[in-house]
C-alpha cells in the first residue's frame, strides 16, 4: 500500500488492519508518535491524516491508502509551535507533546482560549494542567 508520509511517498507491505500507530513506529521507524492507551482516549498517538487530527491507535493502516499523513517528525525542528512549547514549558515529561502540537496545528490562526480548550479535549496531559500549553499556543499564533 502507498500513502504520503511527511511529504514523502511511501510504499509498504504491511497487514491491512495493522494500526497506523504500529506501522509508523515500527515499519517507518518514526517513534515520535506515542502510545498512551490504545483506546482513543489520550491523544498521545495523534497524527494528521489529510490535515485532520486522528488517533493513530484507532486507524487501520488500510484506511490511509492514498492519504497524506503527517507526524511530529514531519514538522522538522523549527515549527513556531515547537518553539513556543519550548519557550513556555508546554512540555514537561513530553509524552503528550507530539500529539498536542499536531492537534494544535489544526486549530487555525489565533484561536481563542475557548477554541483551544475544545480543540485539545482529546489530548490528555497529566503533567502541566494544560495552562502552559495554552500559553504556548497563544504565543505561537
Amino acid at each position: 500500500m502507498r500513502f504520503t508520509l511527511n511529504a514523502r511517498e511511501v510504499e509498504l507491505n504491511v497487514a491491512p488492519l495493522a494500526r497506523l500507530l504500529d506501522v509508523l513506529r515500527e515499519d517507518c521507524g518514526l517513534t515520535g508518535t506515542k502510545e498512551g492507551c490504545g483506546e482513543g482516549e489520550c491523544g498521545a498517538c495523534t497524527v494528521l491524516v489529510d490535515g485532520e487530527a486522528v488517533c493513530a491507535c484507532l486507524v487501520p493502516v488500510a484506511q490511509v491508502e492514498g492519504a497524506e499523513v503527517v507526524t511530529i517528525e514531519g514538522l522538522g525542528d523549527d515549527h513556531p509551535l515547537q518553539r513556543a512549547f519550548m519557550d513556555e514549558v508546554g512540555a514537561q515529561c513530553g509524552i503528550c507533546t507530539p500529539g498536542m502540537i499536531l492537534t494544535a496545528i489544526t486549530l487555525g490562526p489565533r484561536p481563542s482560549l475557548a477554541k483551544i480548550r475544545r480543540g485539545l479535549a482529546g489530548n490528555l496531559c497529566r503533567c502541566t494542567g494544560y495552562e502552559a500549553i495554552y500559553r504556548a499556543i497563544h504565543r505561537a499564533s
Partner: protein, 277 residues
C-alpha cells in the same frame, strides 16, 4: 494491542454495490467505518470478528443532502461533518450539538453516524436525537433497500434489525417542528460516555428520548402523551420512572440515573415552556 492483526482479513470494495455483493457472497463480514468502536475492541483483544469490510472509501455515503423536505445523512458522515454542515445545524441543531460532545476532535474526525447507530450502544449520543427526530434508518442489501423507522430499529441490548447482508447507508430525517433540546451527562466535560443523555422536542406534541437508562435508547411515549395532554410534572416524572430501567454499572448508579433523568425532563420542560406553539 491485544489482537493479532496480521491474521485479520480486510475486503476492499470499489463501490457500494461491490460492498453489498461482498457482504452477500463472502460473508460473514464486519463492516468497518471510522473504526472508533471496532479498534478499541481490537486493542483490547475483545473482538471476535476476523473478517472486515472496509467502508471508509465509499465517498457517496458521506453526503449530507436535502431531498425535498427530508434531510439525508450518509452513514459515513463523521461527527466533524455533522458539526460543519449548515443543513444539519439548521434543521437538526441538536444533532450537531450531540456530535460536538462526542469524544474529542480526533474521534469526531473519524467516528461516523452510521457507526454510532450500528454499534447500538445504549449510550450512543446521537441515538436519542435520531429517536426524537423520528429518523428513518436506510438499510440496503444487494437487491433491496429497506427503510426502518428508528423506533423499530433496536430490538434489545446491542441488537438491531439489520441483517448480516445489509449496510446502513444513511438516515433520513423528516422536518422537525418545535423547539429542540439536548443534554448529555457524563461527569467529565469531554471524552465522556453518557451516564444519561436526553434529546427532546417541544412541538405540538412533545417528543422525548433518553439514552443510558435502558438496554436501548428509548422514547418516553407515556411521558410524551401525558405532557401533551396537559398533565403536570409530577405525573410526567412518575411515568418516566416506569418507562426507564437504569442499572448500576462501572460508571454510575441506577438511582443517580433515575434522579437525573427526572430532573432533566423537568428542565427541558421549564426551559422550552412559553415558546412552544
Amino acid at each position: 494491542m491485544r489482537t493479532a492483526v496480521s491474521r485479520l482479513e480486510l475486503l476492499q470494495p470499489r463501490s457500494l454495490q461491490h460492498a453489498l455483493r461482498m457482504l452477500r457472497d463472502e460473508g460473514p463480514l464486519t463492516p468497518l467505518a471510522g473504526a472508533t468502536d471496532l479498534y478499541v475492541a481490537v486493542n483490547f483483544g475483545t473482538l471476535d470478528s476476523t473478517r472486515f469490510l472496509n467502508l471508509w472509501g465509499l465517498e457517496p455515503l458521506r453526503r449530507i443532502t436535502l431531498c425535498g423536505d427530508t434531510l439525508r445523512i450518509g452513514a459515513l458522515a463523521t461527527y466533524t461533518s455533522l458539526i460543519r454542515s449548515r443543513l444539519v445545524r439548521q434543521r437538526l441543531p441538536i444533532l450537531a450539538r450531540a456530535a460536538l460532545e462526542v469524544g474529542g476532535v480526533q474521534i469526531q474526525n473519524r467516528g461516523t453516524l452510521g457507526g454510532n447507530v450500528a454499534n447500538a450502544s445504549p449510550a450512543g449520543d446521537t441515538l436519542p436525537v435520531l429517536a426524537v427526530a423520528e429518523a428513518v434508518v436506510v438499510l440496503r442489501s444487494v437487491d433491496r433497500e429497506r427503510r426502518v423507522p428508528f423506533a423499530e430499529f433496536y430490538t434489545g441490548y446491542r441488537q438491531t434489525v439489520r441483517r448480516p447482508d445489509e449496510l446502513i447507508v444513511g438516515l433520513e430525517i423528516p422536518p422537525v417542528e418545535g423547539r429542540q433540546w439536548f443534554r448529555k451527562v457524563g461527569t467529565r466535560a469531554a471524552q465522556a460516555i453518557s451516564k444519561v443523555v436526553i434529546a427532546a422536542v417541544r412541538g405540538s406534541s412533545p417528543r422525548i428520548a433518553l439514552g443510558s437508562v435502558a438496554p436501548t435508547v428509548i422514547r418516553l411515549s407515556q411521558v410524551e402523551h401525558a405532557l401533551g395532554a396537559g398533565a403536570g410534572m409530577d405525573e410526567a416524572v412518575h411515568r418516566l420512572d416506569q418507562d426507564i430501567q437504569p442499572i448500576d454499572d462501572l460508571r454510575s448508579t441506577a438511582d443517580y440515573r433515575r434522579d437525573v433523568a427526572g430532573n432533566l425532563l423537568q428542565r427541558f420542560w421549564a426551559e422550552t415552556g412559553g415558546l412552544s406553539s
